[in-house]
Symmetry: C2
């Protein structure tokens, strides 16, 4: 009667997605009365389609513990969205073929919006085709834009990283502005939602403390107001520190990073980077000396500065996903995080229907952003602070974090190649 | 008979320059039989010229300890190089005037090449003008380009930060390359010397581990060889991680960041950033999807990831500077770090003549760079590893590092304003 399970990682990876993997693996071992072998697919759903699977039974306790403190996706991730059943029935039939060949009864998919959609479709299709399957979504995204959950594992650690980094860079600038750089700009991720940019605001705990300005994707960029704010900051505090979301947009909805200034002589747009664009606007109009940084992958892989709460929640939703599938016989749900108390911060995990999650996005509420649109409110701080709380350091060897690298040997294939 | 002392910070700040300040302050208290009051000048030598001084006697033990774990320059720094005595005699006379007004017998100047030069000139001028002064240089620079010292406080922590960051980003990329980004580029500081870029190489401990390529300022950029190397890496490892020094140059000696590709439609050059330039070369010639990051100030202010050895050495050279001045009656010297044993790494502090240091630069030896010019050698690793060893975390509050902010009240001035 025992069925086997497949776990896969999807979308942009985080510094704690492997903690979720660790939770899933541990739980499958704890629920060995109901779950037989747990396979991990290589590179998300593609690994299922291509029958590229690892047997996680081979993992040692030390490897499973090591995953809790290792960034990136240990099993490989993918950016791949299943089409609808109408558009590509073949893919779904293939999934069922693979599930069937490995006697899979449980599918744990670890990702963001797109993965929630994939997970829901897989659940629905299995049902339509009469294949008994429980598909559970394990939330993960640094963008923090999944609905129906207090927050998304991966986000808290990015938030801690960017807030720490901008505090440190702000202290640097404060030492130098009298004879050198007056403006510093940090570009952070978040193409649609400003959660990461907002987190930078946590570094500013009193008036005049950096960052002085935050540019959110939710608030159209107003150059005049912005420049006035920069000028005010430099004239009153001596310098100006700015956090800008990669997705900051002008009033027409066009991303600033795609504006004319970023197009080079060859007409290329892929140089990217909104920080240099904002720097140039300031230089042209106000003449201040500037520096800028683009954190890019550094922010989402910085396991050395993970939030302990985030790491614990990542593990918990992984574990809870398996518990929901076995104890509660759940299907088509996400293991969500529920905030049960604000002060002290308390939380628990709970199932929410995937239909409420898939293809929805959670943006910053307007009352999380200050009236002038350039900073965060106390309400936003109250929400964010618990998520960055606590440290959980990796081990170090020769001065560098010692991360687990799995010796992944793919299983021999049973099926014909999928074209 | 007791004389007072002035301490000042100069040039680009680091995550451990305040540890040197802490060492100077502690030592002055320990040598209170010879040193009266220790003043700190605001913004380096400018604070002396403008008579902008703090009395460090007001600092509490907890503040002095807090400085050991606080990045930036707590007393303010400056980018200001004294002219020669011939060109600006007035400035030197003013320095002596301020020293005289505060009965200063000791001048501790904490900085890099330019500051070593300033410190030496101050020492010489005091001698010429018959003013009794002992001027001691406390080394500091993330560039690690001072001669006559094993390394420069500030460098080890940047090295640890960039090596950790590129390891983490490399793990991220390794999870994603099959369906997404194939090339990641991290731009690090170091305009003339490649020490910081070299440190990224520490993250690669076995064949195929990122970073796969390092671009040093010391090795002229050869586009053809570089592209072949990128292609090889992507074809053999699946992806390619590159560390590039901001000072990477082409064969004519021009910085890559100043190349045509960085000039926008308006002819501006200040966009800066060599990472996007390198990314574009790869995109144009090989078509790989890329991401890039520019660490900028983040790398030199990242006290959250300081090297313990670096922090200890920063404190030690501060303390040693005061000891040299008092016990050894030294003048015109730098408190250098001497490596007395490689394995295990052991070091001590010692005075070296400032004339051997001022205006010299230490570049990467050719045998620290691999034959093909794209990586580091074992000899280089042996030199670097001890400098990034050990962690020394700051305290955290509300999820963020709790850094000391001094309540600096300037003393009332005794002299007329310096024009």
């Amino acid at each position: 009667m025992k069925k086997n399970a497949i776990y896969a990682q999807s979308g942009g990876v985080t510094s704690v997605i492997n903690a979720s993997a660790s939770g899933v693996i541990r739980a499958c071992r704890d629920y060995s009365d109901k779950i037989g072998t747990l396979y991990a697919a290589e590179n998300g759903i593609l690994g299922v389609l291509n029958e590229e699977l690892f047997d996680t039974s081979n993992l040692t306790d030390s490897e499973i513990d090591g995953l809790r403190k290792t960034p990136g996706g240990a099993f490989g991730s993918c950016r791949y969205k299943l089409k609808s059943l109408v558009d590509n029935r073949k893919e779904y039939e293939r999934l069922i073929e693979v599930f069937s060949a490995y006697d899979i009864g449980y599918f744990f998919y670890n990702g963001g919006n797109d993965s929630a959609d994939t997970c829901l479709k897989v659940s629905q299709i299995a049902n339509e085709l009469g294949y008994p399957l429980q598909a559970i979504h394990i939330p993960k995204t640094i963008d923090n834009d999944l609905t129906e959950t207090d927050n998304c594992p991966g986000f808290g650690s990015v938030a801690k990283y960017v807030a720490t980094s901008i505090r440190e860079a702000g202290i640097d600038l404060a030492s130098m502005y009298k004879t050198s750089t007056k403006v510093f700009i940090l570009e952070v991720m978040g193409r649609h939602a400003g959660w990461i940019a907002a987190s930078c605001g946590l570094a500013s705990e009193k008036d005049g403390q950096p960052p002085h300005i935050i540019l959110f994707p939710e608030i159209p960029f107003d150059e005049e107001l912005f420049l006035a704010k920069v000028k005010y900051s430099v004239e009153n505090y001596g310098y100006c520190v700015i956090a800008v979301s990669e997705g900051a947009k002008d009033k027409s909805g066009m991303e600033l990073s795609a504006s004319g200034a970023s197009i080079d002589d060859f007409g290329h747009r892929q140089l990217g980077g909104v920080a240099p664009i904002v720097a140039q606007i300031i230089k042209n109009k106000l003449g201040y000396k500037y520096h800028w940084a683009v954190a890019d992958y550094l922010q989402r892989s910085a396991r050395h500065l993970a939030s302990r709460v985030d790491s614990e929640q990542a593990y918990a939703v992984g574990y809870e996903g398996v518990r929901l599938a076995t104890e509660d016989n759940a299907n088509g749900v996400m293991a969500a995080i529920i905030r049960t108390s604000q002060n002290p911060y308390m939380w628990e995990t709970r199932a929410v229907e995937l239909e409420l999650v898939a293809n929805h996005e959670k943006f910053m509420p307007r009352d999380f952003i200050s009236e002038d649109g350039f900073h965060i409110t106390q309400k936003c701080r109250d929400y964010l602070v618990p998520l960055i709380t606590g440290e959980e350091y990796p081990d170090y060897e020769n001065g560098l974090p010692k991360y687990v690298e799995l010796d992944k040997e793919l299983m021999n294939k049973k099926l014909a190649k999928f074209i």
